[in-house]
Structure formats: structure tokens, C-alpha cells
Symmetry: C2
Subunit: 320 residues, 2 copies
């Protein structure tokens, strides 16, 4: 024990990949390694990228990796893939494109599949980010497909969040409204060679104004890119740098780091408590009591109270 | 106590709305009322509707309500709104459109805002569905904006799930791949008067085939609608009926009902355990220990173990 942590701290990719697998499998010892790594985390700059499917996020991520590499920064990427028997084609293709950088030891890509389980995805994502941070990656990019609440939560704990849109979106504007606007530190108007780019930029700026601009707050800039042709990436990198500098100035970075640690804490608490509850539910046969062969079924609310009371022990029982 | 439950069982809308508010505020007594209502639930037919923003879901929902009402069925609607300072306009407009039916005592609409808290939304949704079911609504429609994991989870526990798409979607096809295909019992190609409707239908059917069709399974039909002009709604209703009949035949309906009860159980367990953990975290001052003024900070993994051990009591402590 601790051996794996040592290797990760030396930046060994194979050790890091192995630790990530053990964490995925919820091996308790792996969390001991994470504890050892914890004092060495907090140095990486975490960048979240989200947006509607088809907005070209993966190509953009690829270009950003190249941009960071050109500056001599090492990069970790957590690519969140939706679970689907159909995701094979397009999304695997995206990943393969990202593997432009596979031969580069300064780039470490890890894909995670979304899962149906309770908050499992944000926990896995955070674990991977921590390992990459401890490895010494200067930049960790979290790229996620979709604009649902989970995706917003995950990307919302990054230091700088990019929301990628395409011109002539129309419907996309509604998607932005659906919760991702609040998390955008930088807007990226990708495929900016398409018609309607001016109008889309106006719409985005209007939405920012409508949201009420705090004069002391950060006003999200809008970057125009054509990721496929590597256009606008330098300006985007400048916007990202600008946001990082602004955060460091205001103590905002420390605030975001604190928020991420608290989220890690709550996800760990949740996972442990639910693990215990699952075992106790089986021991008490509560599912069977909710669906009896005959007689009155136990209602799920009472069943939940029973498992909690049982977990809390007799002493706590009275107080609960 | 029990008074409110009685009024709900008589179908009184004001009592139901009051109970929903108390549940939202997590008033413990409200859950006692839910327990009393539980034996009277399980009769409503639950229909989930999801799809990309801008696909016309709300107009479609409105037409479906009219269709069910014309058959003499009573309808409850849970409309899930994303939280956003920007959602005011378009989405409120949708809701207002739905209020065509406001004067109709056979229709009960309840909006829920998405929240950042842990699984709070699916729990609230399920509570509202249970109350509407106990009220005696024949049909309960859950309409949700967005295609993220949370939305999939919520709509996935309906008896019949509709996924709404528009022709010429292109990008949308990727959204479908992102997890919502699996939950679709019926596809709705809305705005079917647009160009590209044939191609879109072919693409959908191809995806269904690619997914591997179980010869004994349900093969999702594709309904073409123009909700704005009330076209195709009757055929859509037939597809919904067909799915319900197929499920009843196969015992699939009982399976889905069981799954929803189990989800209610787990959400209640999670909410109660996390509530206790929040209190204990404050009592132990764990957040402060993770961010000390000076000295070594406590790591979040160890902190999580400490709160769980404390909650489980001394006796459990050794075993954990």
C-alpha cells in the first residue's frame, strides 16, 4: 500500500491507470491511495467543456490539448461518454480523433461511461481528476456530452467552464437556458464559419446581459472558433487564461477548489452510506416485504425509515 | 393527520396541491400522509415525455391532454422546468399554453424546478406522481426538458416513455444516442410537415434495428405529428394504447411498477441518510477540519469515513 501512490506521484501513467481502475471497482485500498495523494492535489487547472451533442466539443478539446502542449503544459483529459449500445460509432470516433495525442506522454486520456447509479459518475470523474492532478498534470480537461443536470454538476466544479455552441442554433438557445448558462465562464461559438454567427453571438451576449451583470463579477467572453481548421484557438486560450487570472485575483480559485473538495466529501459519504443501506436492505428482506406474495405490502416510505433506524442502531433509534 | 390524505383520495385539488407543497418542504408529517395514500396508488397510467429543447414537447403534451380528456380520462401533468434566471420567457410560455386546460377540473398541472441537490428532483417528481395517482387521475404525464442522465432516470420510470424528435435533426441523432434511445417506447417525430421527415424516420428505424431487436420484445413505433395543428395525435394515442396492452399482456407493467416503488424506496433512504449526515457533519466540525486556518487539512475521504462511523455508532464502528 502506498506503492501505487508513490508511482502516481512520479507521474507513471500505468500506475495511474491501474489506480483509476481500482477506484472504479470500488476497491477500499484504492481509496487509501487517494488519501495519500490528497496533499499533492490542488495544483492542476481544471477546465470543463460542455455543450449540445454535435457542437464539435471533441475536436475543440483536441485543439486545446495541442495548444497547451505547445506551451509545454502536460494535459489530462476525462472524456465522459454516455452509456448506449449506439454510442459506439460517432463517439468512439471522437475519442480516436483525440488519440492524435496518444503517443505523447504529456497527454493522458481517460474515458468514463455515464451510469445509472446514484451519483456514481460525478464521483468517478472527481476521482480521476484527483489522480491526474496528483500525477502532476498542469491541465485537466473534463469533457462531457449532454446538457442535463448531471453534466452541469460535473462541469460546474471545474475552475473554468467552457460552453460550446454553434451558429444558427435556435433550439440550442433553449438548451443554454436549461441550466448551462450559469456555469459558463467562457462561451465558444464553434463552426464559426457558418451562417448566422453574428446573430448567434448577439443572442449569447443578450442572454448574458439579461442574466443581470454583476459589475464586480466575471463577464463571460465569447470566442469564435473553427476547431476543424484550428482557427480561433489562440484567442480561446487567452480567454481561459484571462478567467484564471481574474479568479486568482479575487480569491475565486480558492473558493472553487473548496467547493470541489466539499463535493468529493459528500459523494464519498453518499456512496458509503448507500453501500451500507444496500447490505442492510438485503439482511432485513425489505424488498420482499414491499412486494409480498399475499397480504398488505410494506410501503416504501416506512421501509426506508426502517432501514435507516436499523443502520443507526438501537441507541440512535429513539432519537431519530 | 390523515385528514389531508382523505381529501386527496376524494380528488380535492387544493388538498393535493397543499400536500405537494408540504412534501417539497420536506415536512415529516407530509410523508405520513403519503404512507396513508400508498395503498391507493398504482392505478394511474404514467406517461413520460422527453426530447431535445425546441422539439415541441409542451404543445404535444397539451394535445395529448385534450385527447385523453375527450375519452373521459382525467389527467395529471408534472412539468419539470430547468432552474434558470433565463427560463422565464419561453418555458413559462409553454406552461401558459398548457393552461388551456386550467379551467378543466379533470386536469391538474404541477411544475417542478430542477435543483442542484442530490437526487432531489426525481424524488419530488415521484412524490407528485404518487399524489396524482392517489387522487384518482387516470393518466399522469411527466414532461421534462433536456436529455441528461437525470431526465433519462425520471422518464425511465414511466410506464410508457415518449421521445420527441424533429425532422432534419442531424445533431439530434447524437442526442438520441446519448442514452434516451433505450428508454423510448414510442418515438414521436413532431413538426412532421418539415422537410426531411422521411429521412429522419428512416434514421430512427435504422437505429432501432442497430440496437438489436428482441423478437419477443417491444419494437418502438414512430408516430408523425404536427402538434401545433393537432395532426397525428390520434395515431399517437393508439401507439400508446398498444404499448400499454402489450405490457399488460407480458407482465411488463407490474415489473415497471415494481421498479418505480424500489426507486422511491432508495430515494427516501438516500434523503434520510444524507439529512442525518449533514447534521452530524456540522456537529463534528468536519468541513472546518478539511479547511483549517493552519496545519495539515483533513482529506475528504477520511472525513467521509469519520462521519459514517460516527453515524453508525460505536458498536457498528468496529465492523465497518
Amino acid at each position: 500500500m502506498g506503492n501505487l501512490a508513490d508511482q502516481v506521484l512520479k507521474g507513471e501513467t500505468r500506475a495511474a491507470a491501474r489506480l483509476m481502475r481500482l477506484l472504479d471497482d470500488e476497491i477500499p485500498q484504492a481509496f487509501d491511495e487517494l488519501k495519500l495523494l490528497y496533499p499533492q492535489t490542488g495544483r492542476a487547472r481544471i477546465i470543463g467543456i460542455t455543450g449540445s451533442p454535435g457542437s464539435g466539443k471533441s475536436t475543440l478539446t483536441n485543439r486545446l490539448i495541442a495548444g497547451f502542449r505547445a506551451r509545454g503544459q502536460s494535459v489530462g483529459v476525462v472524456a465522459i461518454d454516455p452509456t448506449s449500445p449506439f454510442s459506439g460509432g460517432a463517439i468512439l470516433g471522437d475519442r480516436i480523433r483525440m488519440q492524435d495525442h496518444e503517443a505523447d506522454p504529456g497527454v493522458f486520456v481517460r474515458s468514463l461511461a455515464t451510469r445509472g447509479n446514484l451519483g456514481g459518475l460525478s464521483r468517478s470523474t472527481r476521482n480521476v481528476v484527483h489522480v491526474m492532478d496528483a500525477m502532476g498534470k498542469d491541465i485537466v480537461i473534463i469533457e462531457t456530452v449532454g446538457v442535463g443536470q448531471d453534466e452541469v454538476d460535473i462541469v460546474g466544479t471545474a475552475h473554468t467552464s467552457l460552453v460550446v455552441l454553434v451558429p444558427g442554433m435556435g433550439d440550442d438557445i433553449q438548451a443554454i437556458k436549461a441550466g448551462i448558462l450559469e456555469i459558463a465562464d467562457v462561451f465558444v461559438l464553434n463552426k464559426a464559419d457558418r451562417d448566422g454567427v453574428d446573430r448567434s453571438e448577439r443572442e449569447i451576449r443578450m442572454m448574458i446581459e439579461l442574466g443581470g451583470v454583476d459589475p464586480d463579477g466575471w463577464k463571460p467572453p465569447v470566442a469564435r472558433t473553427v476547431a476543424l481548421r484550428n482557427e480561433g484557438i489562440d484567442e480561446l486560450l487567452e480567454f481561459i487564461d484571462g478567467h484564471q487570472a481574474w479568479m486568482a485575483d479575487r480569491g475565486e480559485l480558492a473558493k472553487r477548489q473548496k467547493r470541489a473538495v466539499e463535493a468529493t466529501y459528500w459523494e464519498s459519504v453518499k456512496a458509503e452510506l448507500l453501500g451500507l443501506a444496500e447490505r442492510r436492505t438485503r439482511e432485513l428482506g425489505l424488498i420482499e416485504q414491499m412486494f409480498p406474495e399475499s397480504g398488505e405490502p410494506l410501503d416504501p416510505y416506512t421501509a426506508a425509515e426502517q432501514v435507516v433506524a436499523s443502520l443507526m442502531g438501537e441507541l440512535e433509534n429513539g432519537a431519530t
